[in-house]
């Protein structure tokens, strides 16, 4: 997967997001302090926010430029936001199949495979408010995968989970690549989590990229939080 953010500018409340990145990799992590603009970068890639200037490309296809803007429903980019944004009026089944009708993706993913993999079979008829935090997280992930995206954006996917569930979650995200060959861009304030998951890390502060680097596997035991 190749994601290019070329001279992108997005004014935010306290600073302007300014990005000039050319990223190649199937597991990219984005970390930085709270309020540094991480979620805004995901919104920009998803098309939920429109940059004031610059070009965004995914695998060579232009998503945004000065003369073009591809709307979120035509980008084939899955998004698991921090609050999960599950549809409260739909059942688990209604949620995870919501994006299955997408017709602008060439990927083939069998929903049954996703449901088995995430162990959601027994939950399909349940209401969203009857699920635990970990179950909700799995439903949100399944919903994004079943929409057959070219890229999945994960915003703080392990926040609010206890250490055991967090480790299970990390393992599931790692398997996104092996099971479904879906690349991901994952935001976290915990560099430790990203060290375990990603081949490329980006540190962001006040809307600017501080550094881009390959994580040191030896540092994966480092539990230091950066916030």
């Amino acid at each position: 997967m190749r994601l290019e953010l070329e001279r992108v500018r997005l004014p935010l409340a306290h600073f302007t997001l300014e990005l000039d990145l050319d990223l190649e990799g199937d597991s990219i992590g984005l970390f930085g302090e709270s309020g540094s603009g991480k979620t805004s970068i995901l919104d920009l890639v998803a098309g939920i926010r429109k940059g004031a200037a610059g070009t965004v490309r995914l695998d060579g296809s232009t998503l945004q430029s000065d003369s073009a803007f591809v709307s979120p429903n035509r980008r084939a980019i899955g998004y698991v936001p921090q609050d999960l944004a599950l549809f409260p009026h739909l059942s688990v089944r209604g949620n995870i199949f919501y994006g299955s009708r997408r017709n602008n993706s060439d990927r083939t993913i069998r929903p049954e495979q996703v449901i088995d993999w995430l162990n959601l079979g027994k939950l399909l008829g349940r209401r969203i408010d009857a699920l635990s935090g970990g179950e909700k997280q799995r439903v949100a992930l399944a919903r994004a995968i079943i929409s057959r995206p070219k890229l999945i954006l994960l915003d703080e996917p392990f926040t609010g989970l206890d250490p055991k569930l967090r480790q299970i979650g990390i393992e599931l995200v790692r398997q996104l690549r092996t099971e479904f060959s879906i690349p991901f861009l994952c935001v976290s304030h915990s560099r430790h989590e990203l060290n375990q998951l990603c081949e490329l890390l980006i540190e962001v502060a006040a809307g600017k990229v501080v550094r881009t680097f390959r994580p040191d596997p030896a540092a994966s035991g480092d539990l230091t939080r950066l916030n």
Binding site: G47, P72, R75, G78, A85, F87, P88, G99, R101, R102
Partner: protein
């Protein structure tokens, strides 16, 4: 009693019809008011709320001027379709719709404002078109406010008097509603019959308002 029963049925039919007619434009306007940041918004909000504060007879007079056979809209409808509006059941529909429109818009707007925009954004990332998002996420989640608005507009329509009197008159068997009938009965000194209609009006209004308040309360809580 059969006359009273006819009046009750006519009133319920016309009021239900007027609430149904204003539902689509009312929902569209409520959605726009909830989502838009246009500079025109305060101006439009004020215009929409005007029928709630100006005298109903003034609204009736404006409607009569517009929809009477010599008015710009009324003359067009008469010459094109051969249909009269003023002093017919259509005028009752028009007057009740005009008077209850602001209530529908205000309640539906509360419902739309309670919808978390993040849900609509994520639905889009899942490939949903604008209209699919509106019909599968926005409207279902705003439904409490919309239904409450529908019920409130229905209740307001049942109580409508001034504007209806001006634009539809009080023609027995043709345009007489519950409120107009109560007025006529009092004028004739038939207070007992008037009170039986008052009791029916109060019962209908109580049930409708109670249900709509329950729905609006839940809608506000989910904000």
């Amino acid at each position: 009693m059969s006359d009273q029963w006819e009046i009750i049925v006519f009133t319920l039919q016309v009021c239900f019809g007027s609430s149904l007619i204003i539902l689509p434009p009312g929902m569209a306007l409520a959605w726009w008011l909830a989502k838009s940041s246009s500079r025109l918004k305060p101006f439009i909000e004020t215009i929409v709320s005007l029928p709630m504060v100006i005298p109903p007879v003034a609204t009736g007079l404006i409607l009569l001027d517009l929809f009477g056979r010599r008015g710009p809209i009324g003359s067009f409808v008469w010459s094109t379709f051969g249909i009269d509006i003023a002093f017919t059941w259509r005028a009752v529909l028009l007057a009740t719709a005009a008077m209850s429109f602001p209530l529908l818009v205000r309640s539906a707007r509360v419902g739309f404002e309670a919808v978390n925009p993040r849900l609509e954004q994520i639905a889009e990332t899942l490939g949903a078109s604008f209209w699919r998002v509106v019909f599968t996420v926005t409207i279902p989640l705003a439904s409490r406010g919309i239904i409450a608005g529908f019920l409130l507009s229905f209740a307001r329509a049942i109580g409508e008097f001034g504007a209806t009197m001006l634009v539809a008159g009080n023609i027995p068997g043709k345009t007489t509603t519950l409120s107009l009938s109560i007025y006529s009965l009092v004028q004739l000194g038939k207070d007992g019959e008037a009170f039986s209609l008052v009791a029916i009006s109060v019962c209908i209004a109580f049930v409708v308002l109670f249900v709509s308040e329950q729905l609006l309360g839940k809608s506000r809580q989910s904000r």
